[in-house]
């Protein structure tokens, strides 16, 4: 097991190296000039050129890359072109909202989707099953921002129960935090509920046809025990895989929800940085996302051993 984890962690080094080169080159090949953005509407060419030189953007690409990667290897992610703050500080400021949004979303999605999927499989070809599948299709089809604006209209503007936007830090109280987290996580969880419920239903249905389920029933176990102890456990591997992929996608994919609910998370940071061509932020955040993906995938692989003793590393 330890050797497996060590091997997987070592394998992240070339992955991050390739990501670093790719992101660096992609940004430099993209049209747009941060110096022109910084200089503003009234600036002339000479002023823009001065700013470009100040930022080191007039140097050869290889030199720029060497300087950046050298700093990254020393743990220095650089300084934002615009904010005059270190990228690490900016990422740390934005990390909590994104992590909390992802966590609340996945907890909510799992809490609703797994029982729903199991129920749909258990009540196969009844109205419960059909309703779950209909919700699933709807959840996949309706864009996140539409769901977000609809929930805002109903729960924030019409009923006035919840705030329209913003993020309440945990350090400032749980009430403020959860008050502002309900609508965003409900919005974002819809697609994951749809996804996880479908996979859960399909996996349970497949398992329910197995001989050992019939044996369990023949032994006189209740339906609930059969579902929990035998069906769900054996169907867990694909469900955990989907949940894991969901977590990885959430960390980098909550951009629309962060925009609709004005949550100052990593997604918004990177979108703002892309629009302003703030290269150090984009490079660093994509590296962080890559690390997150690798770690989440590793954790999923390790989690398989909890559900299926036949899997060993």
């Amino acid at each position: 097991m330890i050797a497996f984890v060590a091997r997987r962690l070592l394998a992240t080094i070339p992955v991050l190296g390739i990501v670093a080169v790719f992101v660096f080159l992609l940004l430099r090949l993209t049209p747009g000039d941060p110096a022109a953005v910084i200089a503003g509407e009234n600036a002339n060419a000479a002023q823009i050129e001065e700013i470009r030189a100040k930022l080191g953007l007039d140097r050869p690409l290889a030199t720029q890359f060497a300087v950046w990667i050298g700093r990254v290897l020393q743990g220095d992610l650089g300084e934002s072109f615009f904010y005059k703050k270190t990228v690490l500080d900016l990422i740390l400021e934005r990390l909590e909202p994104t992590l909390m949004l992802s966590l609340c979303t996945i907890v909510l999605a799992v809490a609703i989707a797994v029982p729903l999927g199991v129920l749909a499989a258990y009540r196969h070809e009844t109205w419960v099953d059909r309703a779950t599948m209909a919700f699933s299709v709807l959840g996949f089809s309706v864009p996140v921002f539409v769901i977000g604006y609809m929930l805002i209209q109903v729960f924030a503007l019409e009923l006035g129960w919840l705030p329209v936007q913003g993020y309440g830090r945990l350090s400032q109280g749980f009430g403020g935090f959860i008050e502002r987290m309900i609508l965003p996580s409900a919005t974002l969880s819809v697609i994951y509920i749809a996804l996880i419920a479908r996979i859960t239903r399909a996996s349970i249905l497949e398992v329910l046809g197995e001989d050992y389920i019939r044996t369990a029933r023949a032994k006189g176990l209740s339906d609930a025990k059969v579902l929990r102890r035998h069906a769900l456990r054996n169907a867990a591997v694909p469900i955990v895989t989907v949940i894991g992929i969901g977590i990885a996608l959430l960390i980098g994919g909550a951009i629309v929800t962060e925009s609709v609910y004005n949550i100052p998370g990593l997604g918004r940071l990177v979108v703002d940085a892309v629009l302003a061509r703030d290269f150090p932020i984009i490079q660093a955040v994509i590296l962080v996302f890559s690390v997150a993906y690798v770690v989440v995938n590793l954790v999923i692989d390790l989690a398989y051993t909890l559900f299926d003793p036949r899997i060993r590393y």
């Binding site: 049209p31 002339n44 503007l157 936007q165 609930a224």
Partner: protein, 533 residues
């Protein structure tokens, strides 16, 4: 009920309980805090280093100016006791600072601070650079008095130092103003009516200002950017909400108090809500502009540039972008309708969509049908619809238009390239100017016709440059106006750019809660009151 069904029920109940707990949780709000959504997030803090309007607005919060324009655009003393005294030969200006002006750290504001600030500003700003060309020396007489000695009379000294928009000559402490003009400052001590709370500044989230209790306002009532800057709030928070719909929803729900620039397509939603008031804080508005690249054919030929102006009409552009006629005005004046230099001189025959005449002019000028690369910005709502209108009108006049769509930052980077269009350059682009930036021939960047050193588009015309110099040297307002008319006529002759009409951007405030918003060329928050907390 099976155990599975019970589990589903428990999940639903738990979620409902959390929701109820959150609904009942009280929201904390510091007393007398005005929550504002500005047109953009504040990312840079040095208003001399960049010309970005949001940084200018930040400057008005924490810094003060020697002079300022009132609501009629007349220049008034601000940090000065009175208007500067001018010697009989018009070569020496003597400035006296008001008594009792303090920096946010409690130190007094001195002549040395003012002189250092003006030197740094004049190294960056276009009007400052023009002024610097006439300056012989700055003299510090005593702690409150300083002098400006000119090499020859210059007619725009007062207008330059009272310049309302970017770069505004904000006064900073000498230790800050001594920073190289090419470096950003890192000390944000000002002497303005608000103090910047750097420890609470979270880019992408909020910017916080506190009332400066020791600020000494002028005795006169507030007017434009001049007069008494009396702060009636304890705290102002600029909240970064990039999604316009979310900002409007937050205003409707009472979570924020004021939106500086709600998009025009959401104004009907705001108008319908009885708790929202629209505020016309900048009656001068903005001007849409079509800009030629005068270096590249076919727009290196003034006759072909004129043909575009003959084909265009302002109403099509304004209807497509602003829509509601209450928020736009047809105006051919380069220096803005409603300003002291408003004129129709030289505009006759243009902007009436005379396609027959435009086609005849193109034929006469020998237009060879080469494609015109017209850049369209896709992500700024106020600009997006301009290029398709331009393309349609130009096509009807016989131009072959290749409209290329891109995001604004790509456009900003591309428009400074002098290369031929086929090699990554361009022929034409559209933008918008804040009225305060185009009130006279020197201020208006697009009238700079100094060839390679001119603004993007690079017009080249010695006569225009001479007229702008004449305007700068002239000290008599009546003669200045006559020269401005000549400048306008010449601008339409060589066609540096085409004005596409004025448009207005109202703010939106909570009715009965927010009051006292001043009409001014830049949004300011002194004099504003808030009821309710």
């Amino acid at each position: 009920m099976t155990r599975i069904e019970r589990l589903a029920t428990i999940s639903a109940v738990a979620f409902g309980t959390l929701t109820a707990a959150a609904v009942l949780a009280p929201a904390a709000a510091p007393a007398q805090t005005l929550n504002v959504v500005m047109h953009s997030d504040l990312r840079i803090l040095d208003p001399i280093w960049t010309t970005a309007y949001i940084v200018r607005n930040h400057g008005y919060m924490i810094y003060d100016t020697l002079l300022a324009v009132d609501d009629k655009l007349d220049v008034r003393p601000q940090m000065l006791e009175k208007m500067p005294e001018v010697s009989a030969d018009k070569l020496t200006y003597t400035f006296l600072l008001r008594d009792g002006l303090l920096w946010h750290d409690g130190a007094p504001v001195t002549s040395a601070d003012a002189v250092a600030s003006l030197k740094r500003w004049s190294a960056r700003d276009s009007m400052g650079q023009k002024l610097a060309g006439f300056v012989k020396e700055w003299q510090e007489v005593d702690a409150r008095t300083f002098k400006l000695v000119l090499k020859e009379p210059y007619g725009l000294v007062v207008q330059s130092l009272g310049k309302p928009s970017s770069n505004v000559p904000f006064i900073m402490p000498k230790r800050v103003a001594d920073t190289s003009p090419m470096e950003q400052i890192s000390d944000f001590t000002g002497s303005g009516p608000f103090v910047f709370k750097r420890d609470e500044w979270k880019p992408g989230d909020k910017t916080v200002y506190l009332k400066f209790d020791r600020y000494k306002p002028r005795a006169e009532p507030p007017s434009g950017l001049a007069g008494g800057k009396v702060v009636k709030l304890n705290r102002v928070e600029w909240r970064a909400i990039p999604d316009h719909q979310t900002a409007v929803n937050a205003l409707l729900a009472g979570e924020i108090d004021y939106i500086e620039a709600p998009p025009h397509d959401l104004i009907p939603v705001l108008k319908r809500d009885r708790n929202v008031a629209l505020v016309d804080w900048n009656p001068l508005g903005n001007q849409y502009v079509f800009r030629f690249n005068s270096l590249q054919p076919p727009f290196d030929n003034p006759k072909i540039r004129q043909a575009v102006a003959v084909a265009f009409n302002q109403e099509d552009f304004l209807k497509a972008t602003i829509g509601d006629a209450a928020y736009y005005k047809l105006c051919k004046a380069l220096f803005i309708c409603g300003s002291p230099l408003e004129s129709t001189k030289g505009t006759e025959g243009y902007l009436d969509s005379n396609f027959d005449r435009a086609r005849a002019m193109l034929k006469e000028a020998g237009y060879d049908g080469r494609p015109i690369v017209l850049m369209q910005s896709t992500d700024l709502v106020v600009l997006t619809n301009l290029a398709p209108v331009a393309k349609d009108l130009m096509t009807r006049a016989g131009f072959n238009v290749d409209m290329q769509s891109m995001d604004w930052q790509t456009l900003v980077a591309r428009r400074v390239k002098k290369d031929p269009p086929a090699a990554g350059g361009w022929n034409a682009a559209l933008t918008s100017w804040v009225a305060a930036d185009i009130l006279n021939p020197v201020l208006t960047g697009f009238l700079n016709a100094s060839c390679d050193t001119a603004n993007w588009g690079w017009p080249c015309d010695q006569q225009m440059e001479k007229l702008r110099d004449d305007f700068a040297r002239e000290t008599d307002p009546a003669r200045q106006r006559a020269i401005a008319e000549q400048v306008q006529a010449r601008a339409f002759e060589i066609m540096t750019h085409i004005p596409l009409g004025q448009w207005y951007q109202p703010g939106a405030a909570r009715k009965g809660v927010v009051d006292g918003i001043l009409t001014a060329p830049a949004p300011v928050f002194w004099n504003v009151t808030k009821k309710g907390n």
